[in-house]
Symmetry: C2
Subunit: 114 residues, 2 copies
C-alpha cells in the first residue's frame, strides 16, 4: 500500500503533509499503528490516497489526500485516530509538523514502455 504513488483526481483537492521525527521507542508498536491508520484512513469519506516515506532513523513524511476540508476535519477527529495521535505524542514522536494544503496543480510522468 505504501509503495505506490496516490492516484488522485484533477485538482483542486486537499493534501495533509505530516512530517515527523521519531523517538527511538517502540518501533513495532509504531509500525503496527501506522499500518492500522493507513487502512482506517482509506475507509473514510473523501479519502483520495496516501503516500509514505521515512529515512531510517530520520525524517518521515506522510501525505494523505482528501476531497475537501470537511473530510480532512472528520479524519482529524476520528475517535481511533485521536487515540493514535495521543500515543504519537506520548511515545513515538520527537517532533512533528502538520500542514493542510489545497492542491492547485498536479502533473504526473511515467517512463514510456519500450
Amino acid at each position: 500500500m505504501t509503495e505506490a504513488l496516490a492516484a488522485t483526481p484533477e485538482p483542486p483537492y486537499y493534501a495533509v503533509v505530516f512530517t515527523s521525527c521519531r523517538t527511538p521507542a517502540d518501533d513495532a508498536g509504531y509500525a503496527a499503528m501506522a499500518e492500522a491508520m493507513d487502512t482506517l484512513a482509506a475507509r473514510q469519506p473523501g479519502y483520495l490516497g496516501i503516500e509514505n516515506a521515512r529515512v531510517e532513523g530520520g525524517l518521515g513524511i506522510t501525505v494523505s489526500y482528501w476531497a475537501d476540508l470537511e473530510s480532512v476535519r472528520a479524519w482529524k477527529q476520528h475517535a481511533e485516530h485521536l487515540v493514535a495521535q495521543r500515543l504519537g505524542r506520548e511515545k513515538w514522536y520527537e517532533r512533528y509538523f502538520l500542514r493542510v494544503c489545497r492542491v492547485e496543480r498536479a502533473y504526473q510522468w511515467s517512463r514510456p514502455e519500450r
Copy 2:
C-alpha cells in the same frame, strides 16, 4: 540538511510535493544531483525550506516550501534545475507526481523538555 523539519513561517505559503519511484540506475549520480539541487534551491528567492524522505527501493517524497507561486515557477524554470529534471526522466525515475499546493494551515509539536 535533509534530517530536519522545515522551519516555515505562518501560512499562507506554497508547498511543492514531489513523490517519485526510482529506477535501479545510477544511485551515486542521483544522490549527488539530489544534494546539489537541495543546495541550489536553498539559494533561490522565496525559498522557505525542504524536507526529504525515501523508502529504500521504494517511494520518495520531497516537499519544498516557497513564499509564493512566482518563486515556485522560477525554481521550476531554473536552468540547472531543468537539466536535473531532464536527467531524472532519462535515468533516475520510473514515475513521479508533482503537486503544487497552497498551505492554508499548519501546526507543529515538539516533545517537552524534561
